[in-house]
Amino acid sequence: MAAIPHAHDDAHAHAHEHGREMSLGKFLTTYVFSFDHKVIGLQFLFSTLIWFSVGGLLALGVRWQLAWPWTKMPIVGDLFFSSTGGQISPEFYTMLFTMHASIMIFFVIIPILAGAFGNFLIPLMIGAEDMAFPVLNMMSYWFMWPAFLCMIASFFVEGGASAAGWTGYPPLSSVHSAAPASHTGQTLWVMGLIFVGVSSMMGSVNYMTTIIQMRAPGMTMFRMPMTIWGMFITAILQAFALPVLTAALFMQLMDRTIGTSYFIPEGLIVNGAPAGSGGGQPLLWQHLFWFYSHPAVYIMILPAMGMVSDMISTFARKPLFGYKPMIYSIAGIAGLGFIVWGHHMFMSGMSPWLGTTFMVSTIMIALPSAIKVFNWLATIWAARIQYTTAMLFALSFVSLFIIGGLSGIFMAATPVDIFIHDTYFIVAHIHYVLFGGSAMGIFGGIYFWFPKMFGRMMNEFWGKVHFFLTFIFFNGTFYPMHILGAAGFPRRLADPYHYETFQHLLPMNQFITVCAIGMGASQIILAANMIYSLLKGPKCGRNPWHANSLEWTAPSPPGHGNFDFQPVVYRGPYEYASPLVDDDYFPQTRPPVEGEDKLAHH
């Protein structure tokens, strides 16, 4: 293998030539309709960050209503709700959290992990020049646009966007007369999700093929970085789970448009009007939806877990503890993830016997997560931790995921779920795993790979300020929600203070809202830092973090075709502090040194 020549054809200089004389056609093919996985990855990154701010602002609307119900929204009130005197109407509140969650999940976390980081990193980290099917890859990005347009349009159609919750439970979502306000909006929501699904399908099959077939010589499956493992297993999850959601979405679409009644039982009189011919079953949607959406929550965390593993090992300057157990536990989470969906339906009226079954599998899924947590902790044990911003975000992932995961155990316990289901306990859980977990991992990933993406470093000082504020405000926002949940405070209520039982919780909600506004404001630092660094940040070399994995041997940013030499891999990605070499890192491509085979662990 070592005989393969390191052909130094300078793709580096090549990439720069591109920049100079740029015709419109060339601009379009390079930056817009590009087949290059890196460009596509960045397209995903910027699109999703914009959606992130949209989703976040919607959340602030939710928070406003909960802290100061039925009062005039400052600034935006007059703009958007002039008809109600600047205050949020109950219809609009329903729409706010529905679109908040739909956007955050389907337009931010999933596409940023799989689309942005997956696209950018997979070929680079396995030593491929591009994805296996570049055209398909491009289409997977451009199929997001019809979805984007559906979502944007849905805000402007009469009655506003979808208001049936991000779970879109029928009959509320499929009978027009049940939610007269979101007539077209809900249909657009369904269509948007179908497009996202098609896009993800294209991506996932492409990723699988690429990872299976296009690894550099020597890059065995058990030498792949955890990021790649996370992406790989995620792609498998997508491939098996998404078609089911797509089928369900088509059915809801038909229920809404041509008048079938897949999810509408017979004899419904909704809002005075008979609904459909009947014969359907509302619970069926929940089964199909969660058959996708439970695996989807792991789709949203596994790549982040992979990225966090890489960051932790890199900045702990120590091999990842228990590489193989880490892989097996990801696989275990994925496998078990398919048989636990019923835990969202404990109270749904499904057979209580089934509830017991799902309870057991759900509880057991904590096991692989536990293994991961312990291995991360063991990785930073006896390490030499470098406190970069990326590392701080990665560590905060561990810290916050533990909280989010442990709250999952409460809900997995069926009797306890009787009380906390659909309370803010769930909302706390959601945000600890999705923001504290996935989004923190994503922030870390941005700080970590930004140099590779753009060839410039991000500002570390402001990065740390961003981290500090986000961490504080995050906990300030979402930790008290556990208490709200324990008090039974129901979610999705425009005005919970309607009930005497919950009136004393208003001050706590006000505290939460203040923190939420702070958290939103902190993200401006990230945006500013990104934009500033993009233009003015200090240039960096190929390997600013002294990391091992393959992407750091390519130029920053990598040119077309990624590598200017044939990468050959001799070892796993986590050989930090190896006694064999003087440096504290030992890149995967460095030729073997004497005695290495004796020390080899894998």
């Binding site: 299976i212 089911v244 897949y262 008979p274 011919s277 075709g561």
Partner: protein, 331 residues
């Protein structure tokens, strides 16, 4: 930009895990996702069907098992021809390969043709996937009765309008000079008028007074629904053989009536039937497009991979039908 290697970079070497081309791997992975898609559709069908209090048998829905069986055979044949095309392509026999692909295309087209025919026959009986078009009602209730009334009103109104037109023509003729020709015309009009009047009387007689009565009893409505669309009793059928109960409903006797009718569970039957066969038909259609594209190419050994991939897809389409046929036609 179309050639990823065209920029003078080195061509990287890889270490594939599976000894198959990327295209084929892609196809198998794609088929996995397709399996899940159809599994969801079939799962939904199973839950809805077996969870339904009542479900019409295939014959009740004008579904002819023999046609379905014939279609199965067509698809099986087309699978064989595709395999033979691949064989020919691998043996570098391009013209034979093309011939087999053409044959496959024709068989696929035949399958779709038969499907269209089947759909048409459903539509002509008023069976549609969903409400606005469908004339099917779940139970003989007030909604059904008022739909029948409405349909009769439309029918009668049309007859009345025709008769009114005849009458006015007649008055016109009577006003003019009474030539022999005119006399004949008037007689003609009288005859037509009588035919219409008889028809209306016949309808009224056949449908009965129940339809006109807004407060008809549940039992009377049941009788009406039976008259429009007799319910076959499946157990009876077995005991007495087939021909005994070919009792003909009003809709069959007077096809122009197109009265709403009652089939309990019929709408969900139609929904699932049309969805499953519809998505399957879309897949067939996609396959046909692929075959057309193949027909424009020289199918020699270098293209055997493509033929193989399209063939794999086509076999999958066949596989789905292998399960749909018994589930929809024979269960």
């Amino acid at each position: 930009m179309t050639d990823p290697h065209g920029h003078g970079q080195i061509k990287l070497q890889y270490q594939p895990a599976l000894p198959i081309p990327n295209g084929k791997l892609f196809l198998w992975l794609f088929l996995s996702t397709e399996i899940m898609f159809f599994a969801a559709l079939i799962g939904v069908y199973i839950v809805i069907r077996f969870g339904a209090p009542d479900w019409p048998g295939p014959s009740k829905m004008h579904l002819v098992e023999l046609i379905g069986a014939a279609n199965t055979l067509v698809l099986i044949l087309s699978s064989v021809t595709v395999v033979l095309a691949l064989d020919a392509a691998q043996k570098d026999n391009a013209s034979l390969a093309r011939l087999w692909i053409a044959a496959t295309f024709l068989l696929g087209g035949l399958f779709l043709g038969i499907k269209v025919f089947e759909y048409k026959s459903k539509f002509s009986h008023g069976i549609y996937p969903a409400l606005p078009h469908s004339r099917m009602y779940e139970k003989p209730d007030v909604y059904f009765a008022s739909a029948v009334r409405e349909r009769l009103r439309v029918l009668y109104a049309r007859i009345d309008a025709d008769r009114a037109e005849i009458a006015s023509k007649k008055t016109n003729l009577l006003a003019g000079p009474q030539t022999e020709d005119v006399q004949r015309q008037i007689k003609d009009l009288d005859d037509r008028d009588k035919v219409l009047a008889d028809k209306k009387a016949e309808y009224e007689q056949a449908v009965g007074p129940v339809a006109g009565d807004a407060n008809a009893s549940a039992h009377a409505l049941m009788e009406l629904s039976k008259r429009i669309y007799p319910v076959h009793d499946e157990h009876e059928k077995n005991a007495e053989g087939e021909a005994e109960h070919e009792s003909i409903g009003l809709n069959d006797k007077y096809p122009e009536l197109k009265l709403p009718f009652v089939v309990t569970g019929g709408n969900m039957w139609a929904t699932t039937y049309f969805t499953m066969t519809g998505f399957h038909a879309l897949h067939v259609l996609a396959g046909l497009v692929a075959f057309v594209l193949l027909l424009f190419k020289r199918l020699d050994r270098t293209r055997a991979g493509i033929v193989e991939n399209v063939g794999l897809y086509w076999h999958f389409v066949d596989l789905v039908w292998i399960f749909l046929f018994p589930l929809l036609y024979l269960f």
